[in-house]
Amino acid sequence: MVSEITRQQFRRFRSLRRAWYSFWLLVAAYVLSLFSEHLANDRPLLMRYDGATYFPTLKFYPAEAFGGQYRTEADYLALEASPEFKAKGGWMLFPPIKSDPLRSYLRESGSPPHAPSARHWLGTDDSARDVAARLLYGFRSSMTFALTLAVIGAAMGIVAGGIQGYAGGWVDLAGQRLIEIWSALPFLYVVILIGSIYGQTFGVLLFVFLLFEWIGLSYYMRGEFYRLKHQTFTQAAQALGAGPIRILYRHILPNAMVPVITLFPFMLIGGISSLTALDFLGFGLPPPTPSWGEMLQQGLKYLYAPWLAISSVTALFTTLLLASFVGEGARAAFDPRSSNAIR
């Protein structure tokens, strides 16, 4: 189903270097962040102890196994420092970031937030948690949230807009009025209200965002479906005896994907920044969760600890910038108006 035109559009997208590299940087960063447990963790990736090999980031080992007293998970940092560990010829290979995002590292001298050091590259926050680890996990949760939101929201927008554009008439009229009323609901109040009733979990936040996410794309899809329904080739297919389902799936939907592709990066940007804003205000993901909004908030609170603000702002800015480059490139490559000029 990949036509010559589509291939040409992909080729054009690839030729836009800035968008192409931004796209792969983002993809690579997200794929890497999916392995955050092995990139930022205070458990070692690999451990030799007493002649045996262990993989603590993959598997749970109780403290008992290494001469501790409890059945709870071993404290590898303490273990590494213990003289008996060294005596038994043990060694550990740690992930690049040697910290867990949820754990406080109070053994540092001074009081938190700690300034960047060799142990904590980007310093620690006010609870002495490692900033680099929290940035990484925060990136993963922001991206996962925004991607899920954009994918489901786009699907909903396609369906809602498609129904209106294809059916037309009173369905369209009623749908448009309903959307006008719906989109006038104050988003923040709905978030606070639903969040305070059902708790601010990932799922609840996603649900509330989804209530509104589909609206923007649905306008475009409505127009596309309406336009394509009246195209000669749709009518030719009708004259050939194709039923409405076939016309929708084969002739209208595939031709209506351009706005989806060009809007998707911007939906992603919207998702990341809205979640960050909500976290910043304290209505987002619940406290210990690593989140960029919460880190920004700390940055503002502890202006004397600039590593907090600088790291979170830089991370957010870079991510949004890369996503905008992708969006800009997608628009240039897939928008039919620009493609006409080139062809």
Partner: protein, 282 residues
């Protein structure tokens, strides 16, 4: 309606008092005509006289009722099209009555190869075909596309307008329809290509023995192509008869004016004949 008799001698298509209304506007006002098996009927008339909507009405390709109302009867081998339910209608479209439209470039879906689009017609109406690709290649060859084994993998934008129209004809023919409706199939094409397409249609209709309903502005096409002619004017049929008779001795002033417009070889035309609408009346 008395449509029960299996009349084999009756016309293939019988349009009886067809009326098409768009809200207040009556686009077609009670036209009646017949089309016999194997016959070629030309429908001539000026822009807006209701030719296209009449052709679309034959398989109810017009907007559904509140926007557009149809009256009268359209009998295809005795069955009234206007009374058919949707599924039966889908089986008539393409399978019994196929269309070719004016704009070949926009009549093809840009995202699929021409082979895939002809294949869609095969899948819809001829599920018995074992080897669709062979059939696609066969019809492309039939409509004069060179190198059909390779060409069927082309996308519409890789073809010229004339070739696109040939593909549209192939798509219409692959279902072996009884009636081919061609709505100004050459208007969007270059003059030399026009002649080629008309020659192709003439050739095909003889080879396949189907009925053709040819809509055109151009009396030049009628000559040597159509058996009979209908002249439409403001939603009504104002003249009807064998093609040669109408061409030789037109009765209605509008027909006379149209025929006078045909350029003739070796005959110098001082002025283009214009139509004086004030004298035509109703």
């Amino acid at each position: 309606m008395p449509s029960a008799e299996p009349a084999p001698a009756g016309p293939l298509l019988e349009v009886d008092g067809l009326t098409i209304r768009f809200g207040e506007l009556t686009a077609v006002d009670g036209i009646s005509f017949r089309l016999a098996a194997g016959e070629t009927l030309a429908v001539v008339g000026e822009s807006g006289s209701g030719k296209s909507v009449s052709a679309l009405a034959l398989t109810r390709l017009l907007p559904p009722p509140p926007a557009c109302r149809l009256g009268g009867a359209i009998r295809l081998e005795g069955r009234d099209i206007l009374q058919l339910d949707e599924p039966s209608l889908h089986r008539v479209r393409g399978k019994e009555i196929a269309y070719i439209f004016q704009e070949p470039s926009s009549s093809l879906n840009p995202l699929f190869t021409i082979g895939a689009q002809i294949g869609e017609a095969i899948r819809l109406h001829r599920p018995d075909v074992k080897d669709p690709v062979a059939e696609i290649v066969r019809v492309l060859d039939l409509v004069g596309i060179r190198d059909p084994e390779k060409r069927h993998r082309d996308y519409p934008h890789q073809l010229s307008g004339g070739m696109q129209q040939r593909v549209m004809i192939a798509m219409a023919l692959v279902c072996q329809p009884k009636i081919l409706v061609a709505d100004e199939p050459t208007t969007a094409l270059d003059v030399t290509i026009q002649a080629q397409i008309i020659a192709l249609l003439r050739d095909l209709k003889q080879k396949l023995g189907m009925s053709v309903l040819m809509i055109t502005h151009n009396f030049g096409i009628v000559h040597g192509f159509a058996d009979r002619v209908i002249v439409m004017f403001r939603g009504k049929i104002v003249e009807e008869g064998p093609a040669e008779t109408v061409l030789r001795s037109p009765q209605h002033p509008y027909t006379k004016a149209l025929i006078a417009c045909i350029p003739r070889l070796g005959q110098k035309q001082e002025r283009l004949v214009t139509i004086d609408y004030s004298t035509l009346g109703k």
